[in-house]
Symmetry: C2
Subunit: 282 residues, 2 copies
């Protein structure tokens, strides 16, 4: 994945150099690569060609990286630390960070358009649509807007869930679905189960994020810990408390396993990933 991302990003010596350096900085700065792992794991289930999965995984990770760059900006979360390094706008400047995000987003669509990823071009167009909707105002960007509007407010658990289904869930779901679209091994029912799995691990990911924000150190996380409470953001911990939030993460992990229980060994990586997402310490 790291090698592929290196290759898909514009070289730093190509004009405009500073923009390309900022784009590379934003994407190549480490991270857990959960979305690529999901795309690969879902693709394995669907018997997809790994060469196709590499493209899809990179596209989704590039979208994720762009969203982090914009989320960290002063007018949004105003954060200075990400993946143990200065955020993009701190390392470069606000305008360059804004443009790096703006340029990363279409790079993801370009990747999905310039490689053969599905057994028919019509199916590939459907994949482009799935990514577009996951990125848009009723997907990730919309979730971020709901998040912004919720600062300082008390949300109910369903409202919090609604926010996360958009903010992080949409792209996590897209990672799994797009991975599976690269193969042809799944029927509609199996696709449905995979989507249920993806929705569940997406929520689990966020619950664990909230727990870790409250529970772990900045050094371990590589990003500012305790930020949610400091910004008066509603979280699973603020609504449920730490103990019940941890219990919810475990329940979601079990649900994720249940969703794919009818699959055999080909879902092994998906199972491992559900465990990783819930049991991770960073």
């Amino acid at each position: 994945m790291e090698t592929a991302l290196q290759r898909f990003l514009p070289a730093p010596e190509i004009v405009p150099e500073r923009l390309h350096r900022a784009m590379r900085y934003a994407v190549l700065g480490g991270g857990k690569r959960v979305r690529p792992l999901l795309a690969f794991a879902a693709g394995e289930l669907a018997e997809a060609d790994p060469a196709r999965l590499e493209i899809v995984a990179a596209a989704v990770e590039i979208v994720h990286a762009y969203s982090l760059v914009h989320d960290d900006m002063p007018c949004m979360d105003n954060d200075v630390l990400r993946r143990g390094r200065p955020t993009c706008h701190v390392e470069f400047d606000d305008a360059t960070a804004l443009l790096a995000g703006d340029a990363l987003q279409p790079l993801a669509f370009q990747l999905l358009a310039e490689h053969v990823l599905a057994d028919s071009p019509a199916a590939q167009i459907e994949m482009l649509k799935i990514l577009a909707m996951a990125c848009g105002s009723r997907g990730m960007a919309g979730g971020q807007a709901i998040d912004l509007a919720s600062v300082g407010k008390t949300l109910s658990l369903p409202e919090l869930e609604f926010m996360h289904i958009h903010k992080t869930g949409a792209l996590i779901r897209a990672a799994a679905v797009l991975g599976a679209c690269c193969g042809s091994g799944l029927d509609a029912h199996e696709f449905g189960r995979l989507e249920r799995y993806a929705n569940t691990v997406g929520l689990a990911f966020q619950v664990v994020d909230d727990v870790l924000d409250c529970d772990a150190s900045t050094a371990t996380l590589g990003k500012t810990a305790g930020k949610d409470a400091a910004q008066a953001k509603p979280t699973y911990v603020s609504i449920l408390g730490l103990t019940r939030a941890r219990a919810l993460a475990d329940e979601l992990r079990a649900e994720a396993h249940a969703a794919i229980s009818s699959f055999g060994a080909s879902a092994a990586r998906l199972r491992e990933l559900a465990d990783f997402i819930v049991l991770r310490k960073f």
Copy 2:
């Protein structure tokens, strides 16, 4: 076009309402609609179905609108007036403007992916790729980065041209090419001539923009006049002076006409558009 844009944008009562209102504000705020006009005119040349052209024209205009929202932000050009109204971040707030732009961009890709626009799905994937490249770091976003880097510098005429070929030229070229892709009336040579026309009117558009920024009033322009000089931005006027800049616009207009001289009546709108772009007063 206005009706189509209304329809393609998410309704203001859909959650997240504020984001959707900001997206609509950014796109439906008037403007010359030069890119849609170009897509329609090029489509007419290629005997394209107007229903397809409506989609392509809307997608390109939505990308343009997003780029204006981000360009106007405090960390970029920091402008308060656009199309005779407060800019998006002034009317809403910086975070909402950032997200509105972020959500408009994938909406353009969604439009190109969810309607049948070409005679084959493979050709339509090529259209998605063309839009992605026009938006990216070697297209519009890259041009904006070069623009930022040039503030306070002296550029040569070729350097200025290089900037504009990216900053405004890439999307203007995409508008014409994507319009033509909706039809099947053009052979490769004719496509080449259309591209030359589009490159030329793209540059002409920018030269005239620079002349008007120096020559017209804020009231006429609906955006802050005299901004380039105030921000020490290199322009055709700062490099050539007003008289030679005006002469260059006329030369480019003649070049644009020459590029499509072999076409007959089907290029009538393209000719009118070249005239409009150069002779406009706003």
